[in-house]
């Protein structure tokens, strides 16, 4: 929301003594100090970073090829990894045996711990390219080579209707869900900064026009519009095309908040003395904007970005969940959750809802991180 500029001089107070120590530190140091004080924000940042590690190493961390489907292995329950076999250490999972129920004719699975499937670290698995370049087949976790039988498998989080490993799909879904967000945020940052800066710096008619635009965009509910636009994609578009198109659409709505903040800051800064000084010394307007004014916004921008990211993620997840965004075989959290659309499914196979957990986790983490950044971004306030 708008910040009130200090309204008049007031004679210094006890609290100002604390400021003395602060006034000699550099801006970045200040921000870092303040950020460090928020323990929660630090934890949140660690979580966010962990997620992005997953994005990079999705294949390495997976246990099976995410698109490898076997219909007869559909809807199997999770097999958790056990570290001890009786009393000896030995990574393994319990096998699953299934039989068709005479009543419902559905396959019912149970964990059968008499049969243990050994598991080891850095096992061999399906082929992939690390970082998209290095071909390898090593994965973090996998079955030991020697006991590979066709019916052996480890499904850490169970399987979906088509027998695909939920755990690996989840990891891959993280990739798409988190990177869509990044592109979208990038675009809306650009839009937000440009429009906000023009609006705040020039004022007058341009400012008015842009502000009206902001209001109009903000008063229109976004989801019906997303739905409309997304439904308009021809079904023959490639996944990638749809991916980028969705990104662009979402960012067309998401730039308004950042634009408002930037504009507000520009308006207050425009009247500051240092800008007048720069103008008087003959600097061009572009130079003033980019060299003098913009650097003080970086922290705001980062804070706004990390708060806009959850918005993107939720938007994409919702659209895909409704079937209007990414479609299979693309894997995102939204498409994964499509399987969990009704009560019966959830009641019988609750593990299909597991993709909800990373969604909630990353959004919480991003919010906390963004909050911490935003508090730290203004070292001179408060």
């Amino acid at each position: 929301m708008e910040m009130n500029p200090i309204e008049q001089e007031r004679s210094p107070d006890i609290e100002d003594f604390v400021e003395d120590r602060i006034s000699v530190a550099s801006q970045r140091q200040l921000i870092w100090w303040r950020f460090k004080r928020h323990k929660v924000a630090l934890v949140a940042t660690a979580i966010v970073l962990a997620f992005y590690v997953i994005v990079v190493f999705a294949d390495f961390l997976s246990t099976s090829d995410p698109s490898d489907s076997e219909a007869f292995r559909g809807l199997m329950p999770p097999q958790t990894v056990k570290v001890f076999d009786g009393w000896k250490p030995g990574l393994h999972v319990c096998a699953i045996s299934g039989e068709r129920s005479k009543i419902t004719f559905q396959k019912e699975y149970t964990l059968d711990c008499t049969e243990k499937i050994p598991v080891r670290l850095f096992a061999r698995g399906y082929q992939y390219k690390l970082f998209g370049v290095i071909p390898t087949d090593r994965h973090l976790l996998g079955m030991s080579d020697d006991t590979l039988r066709p019916e052996d498998h480890i499904y850490l989080l169970g399987t979906d209707k088509q027998g695909r490993d939920m755990y690996s799909r989840l990891l891959h879904g993280t990739r798409i869900s988190l990177t869509i967000g990044l592109f979208g945020v990038g675009m809306s940052i650009v839009l937000g900064i440009v429009l906000g800066a023009i609006s705040g710096f020039y004022g007058g008619l341009i400012d008015n026009l842009i502000q009206r635009l902001v209001e109009i965009v903000r008063s229109i509910p976004s989801i019906p519009l997303y739905m409309g636009i997304a439904a308009a994609f021809p079904s023959d578009w490639s996944i990638l095309k749809i991916y980028f198109a969705i990104t662009i659409i979402i960012s067309l709505f998401a730039w308004t908040d950042l634009a408002r903040v930037i504009r507000g800051r520009f308006l207050t800064m425009r009247d500051e003395d240092f800008v007048t000084a720069a103008m008087l010394s003959g600097a061009s307007q572009r130079r003033i904007i980019f060299r003098h004014m913009l650097p003080s916004f970086y922290s705001h921008i980062i804070a706004a970005a990390s708060l806009a990211l959850p918005f993107m993620i939720i938007a994409e997840t919702t659209l895909s969940f409704l079937g209007l965004g990414l479609r299979p075989p693309a894997i995102s959290w939204g498409t994964l959750l499509q399987d969990a659309q009704n009560v019966q499914t959830i009641a019988l196979t609750p593990w299909l809802m597991i993709p909800a957990i990373p969604v909630i986790l990353i959004i919480l983490a991003l919010n906390f991180m963004g909050d911490g950044l935003r508090d730290a971004a203004d070292p001179y306030s408060n």
């Binding site: 309204e7 008049q8 001089e9 007031r10 004679s11 210094p12 107070d13 006890i14 100002d16 003594f17 604390v18 003395d20 120590r21």
Partner: protein, 345 residues
């Protein structure tokens, strides 16, 4: 031997002072450490007189004032001291013993002791009319009905010199000028006929002309209803004009107290001396450097040991000044200073 005498004992008027502050201590418990904003302040206010409290920024003047009425915001807390308020020359009650925000202290606040603040713009609620806020003060401390309170408020507004008072009652703070806002604040403070008005830097935010007007207004109102004023400021010129008695504060303690003429003509505490000599005067020789006090005010969390002023004192005595803290001792008729120059323990 430590001689601590209150002003009244020195003056021997036989009546208790209206307000007697003894050894007030207010600390702020922050994450960065404890800040001893007020660390043993003592002074008196006699009925019908004006006490000026003067000191540099951050010496604890405002906190002292707020402590009297117990309106300190957390993380601040009054940890020690006594504030005796006696209306009729009787023994008086210790304000600090009253329950914080209880009904007793609330009847004192605004009723018997009123306070005006430095920033009249932000001291009024921006979304309530003036009339609303002044009438509220009246109704809190009297049994007048709405209409009577309204009329009283209008009356006071004109007494403080606000033109068109009736119309002003339904206006908002941002529609007034700075000087008028301060006048309105004075009206709001005095409409309940308090015995003591605490004025916390009321003229600091005003231009010189308006400042003079407000000071005149305060003095004339004082003559009219005989109230006492506790006037806080960092401006020695204002003190000279308005105060009868002066208390000089440094880092949370009162270092010197006495009648205004005596303080100005023969200051005893080294800090007071230095303060007075750093005021530019017409009589100084041309092209002479303006003397200033060496050093800077220490951070309240880094209080110097012993006498807080010793690092900057030109009369520093190494054997005692950094070791023990001096108390107020008598240094003349009606005058006290806390300095070992005038008596060691």
């Amino acid at each position: 031997m430590n001689i601590e005498q209150t002003e009244s004992e020195i003056l021997n008027t036989g009546t208790e002072p209206l307000l007697s502050v003894k050894d007030l201590k207010t600390y702020f418990f922050t994450d960065e450490g404890t800040v001893k904003a007020v660390d043993g302040a003592s002074f008196d206010v006699q009925s019908g007189t004006t006490l000026g409290i003067v000191g540099e920024s951050g010496c604890g003047k405002s906190i002292t004032a707020k402590s009297i009425l117990q309106i300190i915001d957390s993380p601040g807390r009054i940890v020690d001291g006594e504030v005796k308020f006696s209306r009729n020359g009787d023994a008086g009650r210790n304000l600090l013993e009253m329950k914080p925000n209880g009904s007793e202290i609330r009847s004192v606040r605004g009723g018997e002791i009123s306070m005006i603040f430095q920033e009249p713009m932000t001291s009024f609620s921006p979304v309530h009319t003036f009339g609303n806020q002044i009438v509220e003060a009246i109704m809190l401390h009297s049994s007048l009905n709405n209409q009577e309170a309204h009329d009283l408020a209008v009356d006071w507004m004109s007494r403080v010199g606000i033109p068109n008072p009736e119309q002003r009652m339904s206006e908002y703070a941002y529609q007034f000028s700075g000087g008028q806002r301060q006048r309105a604040m004075i009206a709001m403070a005095l409409c309940t006929d308090p015995k003591l008005l605490i004025a916390d830097e009321p003229t600091t935010a005003l231009d010189v002309t308006t400042q003079a007007q407000i000071l005149d207004l305060l003095q004339s109102l004082q003559k009219q209803n005989g109230m006492s004023i506790m006037f806080i400021t960092h401006d020695l010129g204002v003190i000279a004009e308005i105060a009868d008695t002066v208390a000089v504060m440094y880092l949370g303690r009162v270092v010197e107290v006495g009648p205004v003429e005596t303080i100005f003509s023969s200051p005893k505490h080294p800090y007071t001396k230095a303060l007075l000599s750093s005021v530019p005067t017409v009589y100084a020789a041309p092209r002479e450097r303006l003397p200033s006090i060496t050093g800077a005010i220490p951070h309240p969390q880094n209080r110097p040991s012993g006498c807080a002023f010793h690092p900057r004192c030109s009369s520093y005595m190494s054997d005692i000044c950094s070791v023990k803290e001096p108390d107020l001792v008598s240094v003349g008729t009606d005058q006290q200073a806390s300095c070992f120059l005038y008596g060691r323990d």
